[in-house]
Symmetry: C2
Amino acid sequence: MGETALKSKQKQITYEQIMNLEKQERVHFVNSLGGFKSIGLIGTQNKIGQTNLAIVDSIVHIGSNPPLFGIIFRPAAYERHTLENILETSFYTINHINENIFKQAHHTSARYVREISEFDVTDLNKEYKNAFFAPFVGESQVQLAMEFKEKIELTINNTVLVIGEIKAVYFPEDCLQKDGFLDIEKAASLTCSGLDSYHKTTKIDRLSYAKPDKKITSIL
Amino acid sequence: MGETALKSKQKQITYEQIMNLEKQERVHFVNSLGGFKSIGLIGTQNKIGQTNLAIVDSIVHIGSNPPLFGIIFRPAAYERHTLENILETSFYTINHINENIFKQAHHTSARYVREISEFDVTDLNKEYKNAFFAPFVGESQVQLAMEFKEKIELTINNTVLVIGEIKAVYFPEDCLQKDGFLDIEKAASLTCSGLDSYHKTTKIDRLSYAKPDKKITSIL
């Protein structure tokens, strides 16, 4: 993989050209540009026990002390059932997606009405444990129990950043390494590109903590 | 890869246990939990032309119309040179990381003083083009020219969400597909897990737009 080969036929697309694309083409293109995405299935239920399951591709690490993650929710009403449940009950789960369930996970993005649970439609298993209010995905290998902390309106385009705190994590025991690193590739977690392209990963290396004038080395 | 195998020895770690971990162990652990991350090199310069290059692992898609991406910046002062340059000049670049440059990219996270450019330290090439103010990484295969739009203080832990708009995109011509999807795997872009684990990807499938009662099919 030479640099020359990579850069041989570079194309430029400007802001104006992006804005002039047909809508679906623009959505596919822009969604591809930020790199591979953090995806997960968000499990919730409302106060009367109606469950909901939604795939998200915008999970972002906010901090480790305390352990916080954010998710961006878009304005469309049909995408807001999960958000409504989170705001109503304060609890939700984040469940990693693996190769066994990625088609079902993708299917949760269909526009179902509020009364239909994506758990039922996709046949993914609701898993309740340790008295946590929201349902986990039974088939998921890494599961986070989350408590809502803050909602921030991004007025620039009417999206919402939801920040939550980890209350518990469930994961395959043999994926945890001595320094605290959880090997989610070993746990078979997938990543996504664009709106619909699912990828498994191959580790290249783990690298040493970077310091000025110190050579970066492998810590595998 | 059976579900039984995946779930055979599940371990639970609670919020309290996370908070009781030694600091570096907690940072490694929590950073692993959100899934694979969107990584990139952020190229900036200040008004007097001092350049800066910083790896980030928190790029998040905010919207496509207009095309917006967010990045989370942490409170530590040495991580703020990039943020200061963005706020001073309004312009920055996001450059995808490939296998040829991931060690250099990782090295930019070392705590250099403001006067030292990570471009110089790592020998990555500054590339200026089409009169855009901020430098691109010459070795990067997908490059975004960004204009600062908004800074949102996340008071919950003193991080900052910076939102910018895409002004131009540069990419290998043969990676663009007809429906607008940019094949960043073909462009050799990498993803990251935790703080320091770099991964290449293997596409499993692209899936059809999800609709209720319609079977999900491959669109490859």
